[in-house]
Amino acid sequence: MDIIKFLDGFTNEALLEGKPSRRAMFGTLGSLGKKAVLGAIPFGLATMPNKTFAQDSGTDPVGALQLALTLEYLEDEFYDLALQSGVLPSGRPETVYMQISKHEQAHVDFLIAGLEGAGVTPVEKPTFDFTAGGAFDPFNENGVGQETAYAQLLALAQAFEDTGVRAYKGQAGNLLGSDFLTPALQIHAVEAMHASEVRRLRGLKGWITNNERGAGMPEATQAVYNGEENVIQGGVDVTTLGNDAPFGMEASTEAYDEPLSGDDAVAIASLFIVSE
């Protein structure tokens, strides 16, 4: 399956040109948000920066938070269904998923409260399809078997957490000067703690080497890792800072997580969103 083509088709048809889709909502809020939020700003989290919102992607704090909420909806429902599926072994896997699930639920509630506090209507929860159109069966609903379902359950969790880390990072600039920045960073770090644990539960390192998705990850998840091979940080090629192992490609790519653009994050999430 050509996943990129699939994603492109999906985002173009379902999101860009479809009915009031997530993407359209992002777009609308992206442009509306500036004025809406400026008008509604004086309370709570949403204190406005005294600088322009103009960002490369045309998003702003509201767009950033709506994207974050969409990703949190996805994670929250995923872990709820995972815990209900009977696929997760008891012990460490169940303990880990329960802890993560608790956080994702809290993130959803927190973001909804933050947006509403800013006078903005939060995006609605999309309809999710964690089989991605039949490609996966993580909850063993279609008879793929417990073992395979569990492997997919772990693989999807890894993809969602690593995506979350990159997506929040990609939105940090849009939150610069906003009181939303610190909480977003606080969530970002929690997603990274989750990602590390899920990766290690799968037998991988907690950090991302080069742009490797890691053993056992479906090719469909490669989009989550593309770009992680970057070694230019702040204009400095960090592999040139020394000759020993800390400055090799592996360590130099592991030591820095890379951002995802809002569009790329939406494209990944869209795999699991049913078009309306």
Partner: protein, 247 residues
Amino acid sequence: MEKSIVKVKPVKKATNRRQFIKLGGMGVVGASLLVACSNDDNGMAMMPDPDPNPNPDIFDLGQGDLGVLNYAYALEQLEADFYTKVVNSFYGNITDEERQVLTDLYYHEVNHRDFFKTAITAAVDGNTDLVLPTLEFDYGDLDFGNREQVLTTASVLEDTGVAAYNGAGRLISDPGYLLLAGKIVSVEARHASAIRTLLNPGSADFAGDDYVTTDNGLAAALDPSAILAAVGDTGFITTPFTANNLP
């Protein structure tokens, strides 16, 4: 009023102060790192002095983005130095997994440290008077041959690093520096998670309730003054410096 100077202090246990990062089964040494956010406010949250650096013999981190970069550089120097000592004399009976994790953390922190030195030097056009000097360290009674002491200290350092970057983000005005901090903090959080699991395998500690607030799912975020007070109390950093222009 002069603000705190990070300097040698005897390693001592936190007793009557609120622990901002609670650890189960604390080792002896890590405890003194846990004393930020205490009630015994010693004035560090006050406004900057009229003279931004009243004691020119002691390096001040500076203000604005430069101050934040120097602050991060200080923390990365500490982490890098600590892991260098860890990997140069691993504790006995170390598992393969522990060796791999600690070696990777050593690589990453050394990379971060040297990156900050280069980036800050470039940012100030090579005016090294504005770049935090190479710090010196003393771990006192910390026994690098003791697994629990090493992992507990590592855990505190990583937890502290995450809280530090989370709290410093809002102090950054340049989007490029903010992104860099973001690239690094999530790796520190991945470290924190891994070390926590090494200390308590199979538990929920990887993002434990002691570190992630249960009702909102937010990890810790602390101002430089709180972080530096905690670091100062460890006595690990023996080179004095001030942070008179950071909150």
